[in-house]
Amino acid sequence: MMKKELKIKSNKTNQQKQKRTNPLANVFDDFIDFCQSKSLFMLHYCTGCGAIELPPAMTSRFDMERLGIQPMVTPRQADILLVTGYVSVKTLKRVILTYEQMQAPKYVIGICSCTVNGGMYWQSYATAKKLNEYMPVDVYIAGCMPRPEAVLEGLNRLKNNIKNDRKEQKGSAWKDYYKNYDYYLGNQQNLFGKEWQTPVDVIAEAKLYGLEGEGTYGENTKKLKMVQHPLLPQEMKL
């Protein structure tokens, strides 16, 4: 696996969400944004050490539920993906699968310094260094490991971002995954090999929800088209 000249990610397509003309609809959208910021279901993928500070943040002492955040079990139900610590290459594949199975709007929080740039495992052959090369990350909580207060602070920041979503486009990093899919796919292919594919057809989803951008297609997606085969259900037998 040789390092390729990575295409520098083009500046994010920061189109403002179109203001609706109906004032009631605006109020409605605001209300939904407000509720989304007040209720967050999180999936904590225990990828590393940082996971040990989540139980204190969730349980009696710091009590995350008073902020409207509660743990969920499967990616389908969750809104936030907490990546708690270094991601080894083997884990990263599962993290990406998990991320793609989540339903938008979805947010990613990278906890611990290791998700920022490899942290103290900078030398390690087994861990991926920067999480935001493989998926858009909303908030990083640095520290080794961040204290529960820091985790709550990071979650609060995410909540603020979501509330001001439409005004400042902060909480919508997930759209970037659709709009710049080629970039993320390229990084994934560099690490996992040319045959890499996931069960979720991201390009089809981007088409369906109207989230295509300039960066959705590119060389890497062409490579993907060559190897992609749809996931067929198992044959039914009686």
Partner: protein, 209 residues
């Protein structure tokens, strides 16, 4: 069982070297072909039931792998470390799975980390590194840092606050990669490699000097 009778049992093996490190640690050096006999003996006659660990050490200079079997006896309260050396180029050894079941885990671990094949071990397959296709990473000639440098781009972390700090003369004045490349803080080469450098004889891609 007294120490003497234990010594007696150990001395049944030819060409054995026994070192008593302290009361509860005995180091034993044996030839590779008599290692299983030794383990059978101490398990059968001196109740060394617990295989604590199997360690592999890569002595690249001698072109040998050292296998260390740490065996503990619940009755003697004594740990025997049986050392043996095998050839590094043709890294094969006999399994001790039929004597000690935990050997399955350790042998599999050594197989994928060092590439030592254990004949007769039940699961000689990938376990931890299922998604790794390079050379066994724990071998000394695998350079983890070089691999990282050519696979990941992780160094470009220069946030504004750090820049401000270093402009003011504080924070991290020298970038981490400069420290590592210039070797100002510590010498990167191991002692062994320094010895080698003295002889002007550098093997492998190793550290770019």
């Amino acid at each position: 069982m007294s120490l003497e009778s234990l010594n007696e049992i150990l001395n049944k093996i030819n060409t054995i070297k026994i070192t008593h490190k302290h009361k509860r640690r005995i180091r034993v050096d044996v030839k590779a072909d008599s290692l299983t006999t030794l383990l059978e003996l101490i398990k059968g006659q001196a109740s060394f039931l617990h295989l604590s660990a199997i360690t592999c050490v890569d002595w690249i200079e001698d072109n040998q792998f050292e296998l260390v079997y740490h065996v503990w006896s619940y009755e003697e309260n004594c740990l025997i470390s049986a050392h043996t050396r095998i050839d590094r180029d043709d890294a094969k050894f006999v399994t001790v799975y039929d004597l000690y079941k935990p050997a399955d885990f350790f042998e599999r671990d050594i197989y994928e980390m060092y590439g030592v094949f254990f004949i007769g071990s039940p699961r000689m397959e990938k376990f931890i590194l299922t998604e790794w296709f390079g050379m066994p990473p724990m071998r000394k000639d695998f350079d983890s840092e070089a691999y990282v440098q050519e696979t990941f781009n992780w160094t470009e972390y220069n946030p504004d606050w750090l820049q401000e700090l270093s402009d003011q003369g504080g924070g991290i004045a020298i970038k981490p990669e400069d420290i590592r490349l210039s070797g100002t803080l510590h010498n990167k080469a191991t002692h062994r490699e320094r010895e080698k450098a003295k002889k002007e004889h550098v093997v492998g891609k190793g550290w770019k000097s």
